[in-house]
Symmetry: C2
């Protein structure tokens, strides 16, 4: 434990190395010329059949080949999808993706602002807004994909520029939104149109309220009443890392990183008393969509599918010790191509650390105050990505008891639009600051669960907590207290299109019907417990409903197929949603059996955000979370062997405390030694007289 | 900051001191004899009108009197409710509570097991179960209130004894449940009946799987791969305490402790830039009920209203440094009467500490990687209580941004019942271990929110996230993306009887309609965000439905009245629910206006638990939580003055990083210095070249 080993040969799940990226680029350039923009050079994931054979017998089975998935834009805005083998470098696939727009890179986004500032028609609009022509350096834009705009279709590569102004370079621009929206043609590198609203909203003249240190100092300075909390691990961490495989508290899994999904966890297993049991083949956030609820044109275009359109990997922050997490941290870097065919590294794109998790279990016997109290620990694999104004903190939290807890925190800054002083927001937004309308929006995430619960053949059930059917007063339910968990099998992809039901505290059970728990005789399972399921509010038939079909329901289940990774499709920018890509294509007529086979569960969760002034100018983090919990998976509590902080038994108390286990943390101390009655030296002391009256324990 | 002051005069909200308890007992004994059992001697809370006058002008307004609320059982099982003034000791109220049963004390529970073991009919049943008459010292029982059993009514004070066996004194008895249930008369101190099932279930012979250290050692010992995580606060804590009033990060409130509700928080205010704004007059968990779902007699009696029947205060654990929480801890003791008219102290019944809360806010500008990252802190006021088999960890978490987060963790041990090897549980329970049937159950908690949002006159609204009404394609909603927060005023107590709606992500808004946010022009409010709302599964008309009426709906709202504290009534044991006590009485015909007046919101939340073998023999903690969030309450983000860990601005990066604020925690370090590329010395380093390509920041 507590060691890290660097591996020479890449694991088949490893993201491409810098060398591999460069090799792929070189091969492509040799074949197709140097005049290419590289949007993607990433791991083409191993075919599952090959990979599972290799995982089962790495010594004897063939090692899956390393293959690069390449997407380039060639002159004339021609998009090509390619595959390049890396062991023996060659192109094995090269296809024109006609009329499709690949992911927009950070570099493409960076280009727009400079062009916007120089465009005469934009300058004209700035002047109309009240900005001097000499102040165009104070005009900024957040370039977004256009989503889909029927006036332009899918063939022209476009961005829309959400416009802002900064009175000072350090001022938060979201306080000064402008009311017009230029449209940028990425191929021509020019502004081809400007959407101008009928009602004009001149530049706000409200004084700024900024969050940067100079602004805070000017308002009276920082609070000085926070004493440090130091977190240290003098003996190091409790996990070990081999390449990108991590082992911690019976867990073992591979940590990948995709330009698109960010963190990808593969081959998640749990060592159950020597029996290494598979649970998930692959876990990731596979897509998301952030629809805004203001129906006025062109705000319908604000519905970023951030992962498919920009990439949670491409937008990853480089993380820092003591800032983004505390304690003893292990980082993993991310490697990507540059647009022009170089490579780049995001240092510390992933951080891995442990945290104390509070009480893992406790029980006191009220008769004699004999007690056991054991503290838990969690492992956190985290990334943060910045999608223009918003920050997403994505953490995969592993618990010792077999629970996996994906957790997302939203922070950063609201997307804002200009409003006039007397303007009615019509309920589609909130004035969070003078002249600033923050529109209602949702954050809908799609968790992709490639299940492998004790093997690949799994079935998904819906579990609803319901009263017994028999009436109050009937012999079967005389006192009316009967209730049970109603299980409904989702036998086909059509049946599996399911929504959350808060009234029944609905959960989804991913079980292996071929393996029964020895005691409960129920199938071993992992249960999806998600109270953050929500309804996508754009209506049926709406643009968002068509483009982000995955978000129409809380859960979909499909039969596993290679390359069905991204539920809004492979190339997402400027899809029209006619027909909807991704999940609806894979589900088809809904008749395919998903019973006792290799299945993938897709879960939509998130939050609906009606902004409020306390979210502005920067938003205190808002967390959301869900659980993947073992149920009937283990034969008993899997954490009884975690050392307790304190344990006394009835017989020990009868023997005046002889043999009591006291391993309480001796670092903790009383806050105020002058006023506490107890001195803090003895942990969980009990008088052992068993009367249970004078003290708790 | 970081100081504690002891006060001489009790605060009007303070629980009774040992002296005050003893004074009240002495007065009562003098008047009514020494032959009394004291079930309650507790603070009779100040009348709100007097108290708010005093809080507004403590120098000039009359200080509310100290009064003891006393409940005694006199000979002949006669229950008396009394009030005793303490400044000038005298009884000001003394009333017979005819046919009512006051709370059952720990001491009363402790008496039963000894009597059960000696009862010949119990011994007979033990022998039938397969226990030797010589092994009656291995027979244990968890005495519960009988709830309500129509055969015995409410006048006889009863307990039911849930029976268990321990092959060894240290063995977890819940592995060996017995199938019969003696009924104990507390007045006669004898067993008056035994419920014996038709189908008998002899004592299990399965070998025990225990969680105590000797058992774990015998199975191979504890895991040795957890390295310590040390949490220290070398400069002390960031809160100060005066008596039982705490100040932390703009929060100020009084921490009381009731025999019944446990932690009671009063007069919660937030210092908003010098303006001390009231938010809640009183917050507590006011009641709970744990119905079990097996309809077979007598399991319907298992539906503990733990707070009204036993008391979350009376059952409180004495907490310990480094076991129940880590860091620098401040404890508060609890003082109670003993049954025989003495006093007792639970040392460290409440713990108070701070924790690092991860990222409070962060934003990176994608143009130039200028960044701010600020860590949050939380304050936790916590207690743990043991209700026979279960442990409840109740934490009141305060965040710097104005959010209050009540959080409950369930741990301890499942209530279990015997089952035969070939028995069908009929879905009402799960075999979690050979011969052990753990019945389905719910934990329903009632959060009582005595609102005071910028003053006492508040109104509650339901907020539903819904699509705009206009059809897709219509001019008002052409692209179909319109959505908004639909506010529905709960104008009367009848209208306020509301359920959760998962499909609309329903929240409840407690607002002050007389005060508008300066920017949003919406009423200042606190929003109840609770995704753990659930349906009470015992049916309408069932025993539980009648007795625990508060749990029928997610939210009720009443007009404030003194003494309407406990929603299942004042004396809960053996209530029949005919008529239902507490909330239904206060709501009446539902016509009372609760618009713009002093209101109390009652919220039911919790979890439905279908047991599983991994919960046994001791249950890994299962958390649930909800939020009380400021919305439109502040004019802006209230935590911008929390010192950041790191902050750089665009102008600083243009100036080669001059002036960048780097206050990152220097205690954090790399997990493995040998394999990380970065050396960990520089925090949030950026190359400052603003190309946003080579590094995140």
């Amino acid at each position: 434990m507590g060691a890290a080993t660097v591996t020479d040969t890449p694991h088949p799940f490893d993201p491409l190395s810098l060398d591999e990226i460069e090799t792929a680029i070189a091969v492509v350039r040799k074949a197709h010329g140097i005049d290419l923009y590289f949007n993607v050079v990433a791991l083409h994931e191993p075919r599952k059949a090959e990979m599972t054979a290799w995982l089962a017998a790495p010594e004897s089975a063939p090692r899956p080949q390393r293959i690069a998935d390449v997407v380039v834009i060639a002159p004339g805005n021609k998009v090509f999808d390619g595959l390049v083998t890396l062991d023996e470098p060659k192109i094995i696939k090269w296809e024109l993706a006609d009329g499709e727009q690949p992911i927009i890179t950070m570099e493409e986004l960076q280009l727009v602002e400079h062009i916007v500032r120089k465009d005469p028609k934009v300058i004209e609009q700035c002047v109309i807004s009240g900005i001097s022509v000499d102040d165009m350096d104070k005009v900024f834009c957040d370039p977004w994909t256009i989503g889909y705009d029927e006036r332009f279709g899918s063939s022209v590569r476009l961005q829309q520029a959400l416009m802002y102004y900064r009175p000072h370079i350090d001022t938060c621009q979201y306080q000064y939104p402008l009311d017009f929206c230029p449209i940028y043609d990425a191929d021509k590198m020019e502004i081809i149109a400007i959407d101008i609203p009928e009602v004009r909203r001149p530049l706000s003249t409200a004084p700024a309220v900024d969050y940067h240190p100079a602004a805070v100092e000017a308002r009276g300075g920082y609070r000085n009443n926070l004493k440090p909390i130091n977190i240290s691990q003098p003996e190091g961490v409790s996990f070990s890392v081999t390449g990108r495989e991590i082992e911690w508290q019976n867990w073992k899994f591979h940590i990948g990183f995709s330009y698109r999904e960010g963190i990808v966890l593969n081959n998640i297993t749990f060592n159950d008393k020597g029996n290494v049991r598979p649970i998930f083949y692959r876990l990731s956030l596979a897509e998301m969509v952030v629809p805004y609820g203001n129906p006025e044109h062109p705000h319908q275009r604000k519905h970023a599918l951030d992962q498919g359109e920009y990439g949670a990997g491409y937008m990853a922050n480089s993380l820092s010790l003591g800032c983004d997490c505390k304690g003893a941290i292990h980082y993993l870097d991310a490697h990507f191509p540059t647009r022009n065919g170089q490579s780049r590294t995001i240092k510390n794109a992933i951080c891995i650390h442990e945290e104390d998790a509070g009480i893992l279990f406790k029980h006191t016997d009220f008769r004699d105050d004999s007690v056991i109290v054991t503290r838990g620990r969690k492992l956190i694999v985290q990334q943060i990505f910045t999608a223009a104004n918003y920050e997403y903190v994505v953490a995969w939290v592993f618990h010792q008891d077999g629970t996996i807890q994906p957790e997302i925190k939203l922070t950063g800054i609201l997307n804002t639009y200009a409003m006039n002083a007397d303007e009615d927001t019509h309920g589609w937004g909130t004035q969070v600051f003078p002249g600033v309308n923050a529109h209602n929006h949702q954050h809908l995430f799609c968790l992709r669960v490639d299940a492998n619960v004790d093997g690949p053949d799994n079935t998904v059930f819906v579990n609803d907590a319901v009263p017994g059917e028999a009436a109050v007063g009937s012999p079967e339910n005389y006192y009316g207290n009967a209730f049970y968990s109603k299980r409904t099998k989702l036998a086909t992809t059509g049946e599996a299109i399911t929504d959350y039901n808060g009234a029944t505290s609905r959960t989804w059970e991913i079980c292996n019907p071929n393996k029964l728990n020895p005691y409960s005789k129920k199938p071993v399972s992992y249960k999806l417990v998600s109270r953050e399921a929500l309804t996508m509010l754009p209506k049926e038939g709406s643009l968002v409903w068509k483009r982000a079909a995955f978000a129409r329901h809380a859960v979909h289940v499909t039969k596993y197929r290679d390359d069905q990774l991204w539920p809004a499709g492979r190339h997402v920018p400027q899809t029209s949603g006619e027909p909807s890509k991704g999940l609806p294509e894979w589900i088809g007529d809904g008749s395919e059996s998903i019973d006792n086979t290799d299945v993938v569960l897709w879960h939509t969760f998130g939050v609906t955000h009606f902004p409020s002034p306390e979210d502005f100018p920067i938003m205190p983090a808002e967390p959301m979370t869900l659980l993947l919990r073992p149920r009937n998976f283990f034969a008993g509590n899997p954490v009884m062997d975690v050392p307790p902080s304190y344990a006394s038994t009835p017989s020990q108390l009868l023997a005046q405390g002889s043999g009591v286990l006291d391993a309480a943390d001796k670092i903790s101390k009383l806050a105020f030694s002058n006023v506490n009655g107890s001195n803090g030296d003895s942990c969980c002391a009990t008088d052992g007289n068993g009367n249970g009256v004078s003290n708790g324990h």
